[in-house]
């Protein structure tokens, strides 16, 4: 909380408005809002999430960090509907959608690309449009999504011929091709090398800024959270231990003092936590 104040002070008075206009250009258009009320989740009697409340506004970019086993991935999977809450409610809704048919889909990007090895790169992206439109329409939209992640020339190849970073970009194109309202990222860059990871972070940020979906990133890399998110939740013992706003204008330069200070604070908290070894 103290940190929140620090980073606000470091900005000029006009920064909040400038930030709001610079970030998602159509914030109310596509993004879904997420409301979590009194969420409990336990596996075989072991509580993983204990009484968690959370609101993510439409179009926001939130990162969740925490030690392994703190429940951050479970929270993300529960919000996506991949896990059923033991108690409590998760509501994902479109603030401006008139009919339920118009609600944009929720998508998740996993730590592994999870591409179908027997389908071409283009067909893998088209999986993101399952049940939508004709085959030709799906392929056209998939081609456009591939171009957006810079892999237009790989459309006809097998996934096995791509590098790890390229496969993850195909997975990103697949997640984005349907124009989702919520994109959940479950440590999607954890397996990539440092330089590829930074390239991917920039790509995700750029696409988020142009498309205006709500982004929820689970990561163990604090510098990644600080670089991408405008809000960081530090999870501990199945609850939110710290809830920080990152009011640093975009585009952010890596190594900026404000970001470094924020990262240091979060790391101090994580390392100084009572259950630290």
């Amino acid at each position: 909380m103290l940190l929140d104040a620090v980073s606000r002070d470091a900005l000029p008075a006009s920064a909040p408005t400038a930030f709001r206009t610079a970030a998602p250009p159509r914030p109310a258009g596509r993004g879904l809002s997420v409301t979590v009320n009194g969420l409990h989740k336990s596996f075989d009697g072991n509580p993983v999430i204990a009484g968690l409340d959370l609101f993510l506004p439409a179009g926001s970019f939130t990162a969740i960090v925490g030690r392994s086993g703190c429940g951050k991935s479970t929270l993300l999977r529960t919000i996506l509907g991949l896990e059923r809450p033991s108690a409590g409610r998760v509501t994902v809704e479109a603030p401006s959608a008139a009919s339920p048919r118009a609600v944009p889909p929720k998508r998740i990007m996993f730590q592994e690309p999870r591409l179908l090895p027997w389908a071409s790169v283009l067909d893998n992206v088209a999986v993101g449009l399952t049940g939508l439109g004709t085959r030709a329409e799906r392929r056209d939209r998939a081609r456009a999504a591939l171009a957006e992640v810079g892999l237009a020339d790989k459309a006809g190849q097998w996934p096995a011929t791509l590098s790890g970073g390229q496969r993850q970009r195909v997975a990103l194109a697949r997640a984005l091709v349907s124009g989702p309202g919520l994109l959940a990222l479950d440590e999607p860059l954890g397996a990539l090398d440092a330089l590829t990871r930074i390239g991917m972070q920039d790509l995700i940020e750029r696409i988020w800024r142009t498309q205006g979906f709500t982004a929820l990133l689970v990561t163990h890399d604090v510098s990644e959270a600080v670089a991408l998110a405008d809000r960081i939740l530090v999870m501990e013992d199945g609850g939110v231990a710290l809830d920080l706003r990152v009011d640093v204008p975009r585009p952010r330069r890596r190594g900026e003092p404000d970001l470094a200070r924020l990262e240091g604070r979060i790391l101090d908290h994580l390392l100084g936590a009572p259950q630290a070894a």
């Binding site: 996506l80 991949l82 889909p105 998508r107 998740i108 996993f110 592994e112 999870r114 179908l116 090895p117 027997w118 389908a119 999986v127 993101g128 399952t130 049940g131 097998w158 996934p159 096995a160 697949r174």
Partner: protein, 261 residues
């Protein structure tokens, strides 16, 4: 440049056949010089002549056709049932609980040991051969289909669900392609068993077919025809294997392990 490319390629194409060619030449020489009696082992040229005669009278083609038809019919029946049950047990826990124990018990009975029983049931008619071949190919197809479906990456299945695939789509686009490499292993194994079973069945009880042709020839001491029948079986087995390989290469071209070098 082109010379440097062709010569090793020519060498690669010929080297595997050097040993068989040398064997045949040595064999011909051994029989021609009287080193080996042609009552035990006919010379290659005699086998060729026997093949030519059998082909001219049409006897060879009739028997070949009968055997092939039996093999394919038995394969279709046994393989079809094995594939269907493998799919059912791979996809449904209930189906597996109900049938797998029984299948595993029957599997441990060597199917050729049923020949006396099968002759009692069906005589030496077509049903007997069809039954034995079907039973033989059933198990490898069943076991490998089941294993293939079980070993499909659950992460991919979850991905398919998240992207809203229906059960049918999930099966067609994720589960079946994922199980295919294992199904092909079963297919190749089953083809081997198919020929083996048919040869044994035709040799013991038949009134037509390649095995019958060989047994008839033995009655009349026509060693060249016996060897001819054996060589045809070898060629048919090789043909089946080559066809499966080609099918594998076209169906599994996404898999680096199956891509032709």
């Amino acid at each position: 440049m082109s010379r440097a490319l062709t010569l090793p390629r020519l060498r690669d194409a010929t080297v595997p056949w050097l040993l068989p060619a040398a064997l045949i030449v040595g064999w011909q020489a051994a029989v021609s010089t009287g080193l080996v009696s042609n009552r035990f082992m006919p010379a290659p040229l005699d086998v060729l002549r026997a093949g030519y005669d059998a082909a001219r009278t049409g006897e060879l083609w009739t028997n070949l056709g009968v055997s092939t038809l039996r093999a394919l019919a038995g394969f279709a029946v046994g393989g079809g049932i094995g594939f269907a049950l493998g799919l059912a047990n791979g996809l449904s826990r209930l189906s597996e609980t109900l049938t797998d124990t029984s299948v595993q018990m029957v599997r441990n009975v060597p199917h050729l040991s049923l020949i006396p029983l099968v002759i009692l049931w069906f005589g030496i008619g077509e049903e007997a051969k069809l039954f034995l071949v079907a039973l033989g190919v059933f198990f490898p197809i069943y076991a490998n289909t089941l294993h293939g479906i079980r070993s499909v990456d659950p992460a991919l299945v979850e991905m398919g669900r998240v992207y809203g695939m229906s059960r049918a789509e999930l099966f067609r686009r994720v589960v079946l392609p994922g199980a295919l490499p294992s199904i092909f292993v079963g297919l190749r194994y089953a083809l081997g068993i198919m020929w083996l079973t048919l040869i044994v069945a035709e040799t013991i009880s038949a009134s037509s077919g390649l095995g019958y042709m060989a047994m008839q020839a033995r009655e009349f001491m026509l060693v060249d025809v016996v060897v001819l029948a054996i060589l045809i079986y070898a060629a048919l087995g090789k043909l089946a294997d080559t066809l499966t390989r080609a099918l594998e290469r076209s169906c599994l071209s996404w898999n680096p392990a199956y891509r032709s070098a």
